[in-house]
Symmetry: C2
Subunit: 507 residues, 2 copies
Amino acid sequence: MASLTIRLHPADNVVVAGADLLPGTRLPGTDVACGTTVPAGHKVAVQPIAAGEPVRKYNQVIGFATAAIAPGEHVHVHNLSMGDEFERDYAFGADARPTDLVPEAERATFQGIRRADGQVATRNYIGVLTSVNCSATAARLIADHFRGAALAAYPNVDGVVALAHGYGCGMGAQGDAIDALRRTIAGYARHPNFAAVLIIGLGCEVNQVDRLVEAEGLELGARVRTLSIQDLGGTTAAVREGIRLIEALLPEADAVVRRPLPASHLTLALECGGSDGYSGITANPALGHAVDLLVRQGGTAILSETPEVYGAEHLLTRRAVSRAVGEKLVERIRWWEDYTSRTGGEMNNNPSPGNKKGGLTTILEKSLGAVAKAGTTALTEVYRYAEPVTAKGLVFMDTPGYDPVAATGQVAGGANVLCFTTGRGSVFGSKPVPCLKLATNTALFRRMPDDMDIDCGPIASGDATIEEVGRRIFQMILDTASGTKSKSELIGVGSDEFIPWQMGAVM
Amino acid sequence: MASLTIRLHPADNVVVAGADLLPGTRLPGTDVACGTTVPAGHKVAVQPIAAGEPVRKYNQVIGFATAAIAPGEHVHVHNLSMGDEFERDYAFGADARPTDLVPEAERATFQGIRRADGQVATRNYIGVLTSVNCSATAARLIADHFRGAALAAYPNVDGVVALAHGYGCGMGAQGDAIDALRRTIAGYARHPNFAAVLIIGLGCEVNQVDRLVEAEGLELGARVRTLSIQDLGGTTAAVREGIRLIEALLPEADAVVRRPLPASHLTLALECGGSDGYSGITANPALGHAVDLLVRQGGTAILSETPEVYGAEHLLTRRAVSRAVGEKLVERIRWWEDYTSRTGGEMNNNPSPGNKKGGLTTILEKSLGAVAKAGTTALTEVYRYAEPVTAKGLVFMDTPGYDPVAATGQVAGGANVLCFTTGRGSVFGSKPVPCLKLATNTALFRRMPDDMDIDCGPIASGDATIEEVGRRIFQMILDTASGTKSKSELIGVGSDEFIPWQMGAVM
Ligand SMILES: [Ca+2]
Ligand SMILES: [Ca+2]
Ligand SMILES: [Ca+2]
Ligand SMILES: [Ca+2]
Ligand SMILES: [Ca+2]
């Protein structure tokens, strides 16, 4: 039961063509017929729009008509552009609405693990973290010891995972770069999905383990232990000691029980990568609906990827719960302008020629496609990269768009589930946190069945609504948080994808 | 048979205290007695030095006396500083001498593997390379398949090694950063220590495999193959295909024979990390002597770590075979000044308070300690990061000082042996190339016996000369190139240490 058009919101005055539409084609659910050819992915008016009037998609203004537009007319660069005033008006909080919370007694639950400190886990790993690349092999050798049958006696332990990285020396001992690295490692060290962690250093690195522990206020003890290769007498001795420590930790780590816990304990990271023309009209809005459901349950969702919203940050400042929260976002945008101008990057989220060919007209429309995965609730807080996320509701964390770096920051912030929309086919995973991959189109879902968790393609074909798929996503989030393995977990993805943001020069 | 002082060159007018020297201590091999206390690692004059005269260490000028210095007097910041004219004078080629090559018939040999294209290997691995982090897990899963007994039938294959990295997307599609990444991956793809390589991409990454192959002129065929995860239908399918391809490659990869080959086929990478007060007086000069021996055999050595020579690049420009070669080095120094000023790094190799406490007086002396590992022969060429090294003799490759990033560039350039000096205790390894670690002091050698290959401490205790240890290093280079495993190979270090230089902003 395919549909020819996709209506992203009942209040919209345009719909999106789900296939190439010929002149005379009747638009489903309307009296309107196409006046011209409208290519798949492009917009067609379903109401008359006077010159100067806003064009609405996702129930959001994506720009203003530059000429009168008749119902059935193709809406694109020839008759739509973005108004300058709109662009410059942050309108802090203008569109923030109070969240319609589900009463506590009626809240959805999942089978979660409550830790001694009150945090809630969705998985139960032991982590081997590193301060510097120099301890990467020691960490991996320790984790390798616990492959295969070594954990057979500990069925509640999901694994021992080494999260090494390429950084930690050849960098300044002070400043943004080492601060972000420390926050990242400390965020993983505290993550509830780890029953316990070892942090292994070499000894002479810039990113000293002791200073990291002190700066981040980590409490050393059974849950967080540190090792120094140089102090212990080398790699082999450090590996032996690490194995010994983990063997001692396993019985307690195994003694966990999953119990029904309210969905308010979920912190969902939102990612997209390998986008296509369907991202903004299928998977992202469906994920956005799931986010609205989660936020109404008292849960948290983290939108990120600052370069993707650049130029359309107004979309978020209007939804900020306060001017202060909105201004934090604007401050991050200014930071990126400086960062990229210094390092030769380019901040420009304008629709590319390829985007325009696919039907995207304005920067607002493009960013709305990315921001659609954040749903419609108010923006309650803005975080720097890898900062601990403590607010409830929809929050923003400043990260690059690059998937492994973005997800690493979100997990460091405390995300315990991740949803990743993809049109081209991402194969991402993010230990110790389960990652669900949402295909924007059915062809991808069929082509990469071992990597894709959910097919959002039926939205484009008219076989499911955004809300239906959103409810499916929300249910799969609950099931996954309860222990059902995602595709990337079944394959074993997620330990090579820990990539802290390297912000500064390598010296 | 401990000695109280270390004489770095017979022509020097200072020696280095090997222990704290008390007033009245007779300096070995001289008539001179200490006039004052001289702390271990500090310099003491063995000849009268008039005010304004050069102070020589390593047979190099490290500065000029700021007052008359008597034999037996402590030489440090109170009576030694660097002359401004010296600092500013590149004196291109002033100290370059023709190399006293060993006649071909008398040359040292090692048991090497000659490849079909004429390149010479010291190891025989199969490599699994990646264009982007998104294919890291696929690469690792392929390599994991060949662990343990899987290669038992192929005794001449050293292993299947996955060299994944954290980069390749979220970056500009043009410019220095992607050029350096492409050079790095292509350099590994061509490396003689790989019998064959697979390059695995995701499909939608910025660092497109096809463009990498084209830009770097890689020839696809049995030796270099490429895979795309998205084209193949996902991770599992790509892993299956990668395993199938490698299984088909193994019989031919195993059909190699080591034969005696002249040492001129060796390209030795020079590294230091975790330096201490002994680095510049034991391991580095001993390695420098080994480099002189190798260069006289017609071989090649690669000095790197530009930030370590910064401010004393004159040491190298004076040894350049031509003004053009010297100017290439100066151009790289200027590039670093711009890079660090843009990215908030600091180029300053001046002796730190800790260095001064340890006895280092001037920037020249400090850099001489680092450059000492490059011996005394002429500088024949200067390369950018990861460029193919084709010149013979001593060359310079521009890299950061950070060990894994520096070594990755050198191996990409074609290094087939690596020597790494360390005072604090590095545990580095660099598959597919063997890495020898040279301890600057005996205490370290004893404390980390599973990581250290050579003890250079006997130079400080007077139990061996720089030349004796240098000859031992040279012999161990030949043995290692012939197949004897280094300590890091025995432990299994080297696949997590492939870290291409990430130069630009992460977007
Ligand atoms: Ca994206
Ligand atoms: Ca992304
Ligand atoms: Ca890695
Ligand atoms: Ca160094
Ligand atoms: Ca180094």
